[in-house]
Symmetry: C2
Subunit: 105 residues, 2 copies
Amino acid sequence: MRPLPQPAREALTLAPVLHALGDPVRLELVRRAEDRPESTCAALADGLGVPLSTLTNHFRILREAGVITMTVDGRHRRIRLRTADLAERFPGLLDPILRLAADPE
Amino acid sequence: MRPLPQPAREALTLAPVLHALGDPVRLELVRRAEDRPESTCAALADGLGVPLSTLTNHFRILREAGVITMTVDGRHRRIRLRTADLAERFPGLLDPILRLAADPE
DNA sequence: ACCATAGTTCGATAATCCCGAACTGTCGAA
DNA sequence: TTCGACAGTTCGGGATTATCGAACTATGGT
């Protein structure tokens, strides 16, 4: 159940977070991660048609930017949004993005 | 004084906007463009140490994402944030980002 | 022990970014 | 009207980054 390496809350910077969210696949993964916390990698990407090796890179970018946490749980990795850390470090940032990403247009 | 090609307001999509803002140089350019509208390319980039040919690319990415408008004014290009279009298409998105980008850490 | 599952790593190709050098178009002065 | 300076763009290359198939690792179940 140990967490994979990730930047501390105080070390988060804005540009990498926006870069991580500035990709359609990653934006959708993040949107789903909000709805279904503790999901696994493959579960979040279900139906997107993205190969697993590419997903690994997407999740790494999200993790290194500080957007998600990945904890090792057996042979799964459970993914959670770092909503509290992001809200403290970048108040008002994540909520509008998630809301807009969920809009059907 | 004609504007360079840019996507219509209805055609703006979220991921390219976040991608455009997800670069330290572009984020700073956008931050300055808010403070000093109608600035020229080189004026916005003053002191950043970024070559002009690289700036052209940064401004193109911002323009194609719909973040800025560039109007040709003689031998200058005047740059404006598309604050109204962005506020209508993505309400609540730009303001927090600009505010956070302005924070001194 | 064996196999299936969940993800990672590796390596090669493709796409993208960065920036110097050369270029275009415009303005101001002679 | 020609000249030169200025503001940016285009071009070309090298460097970085992204994608994804194939092989690999590690865990859990039987």
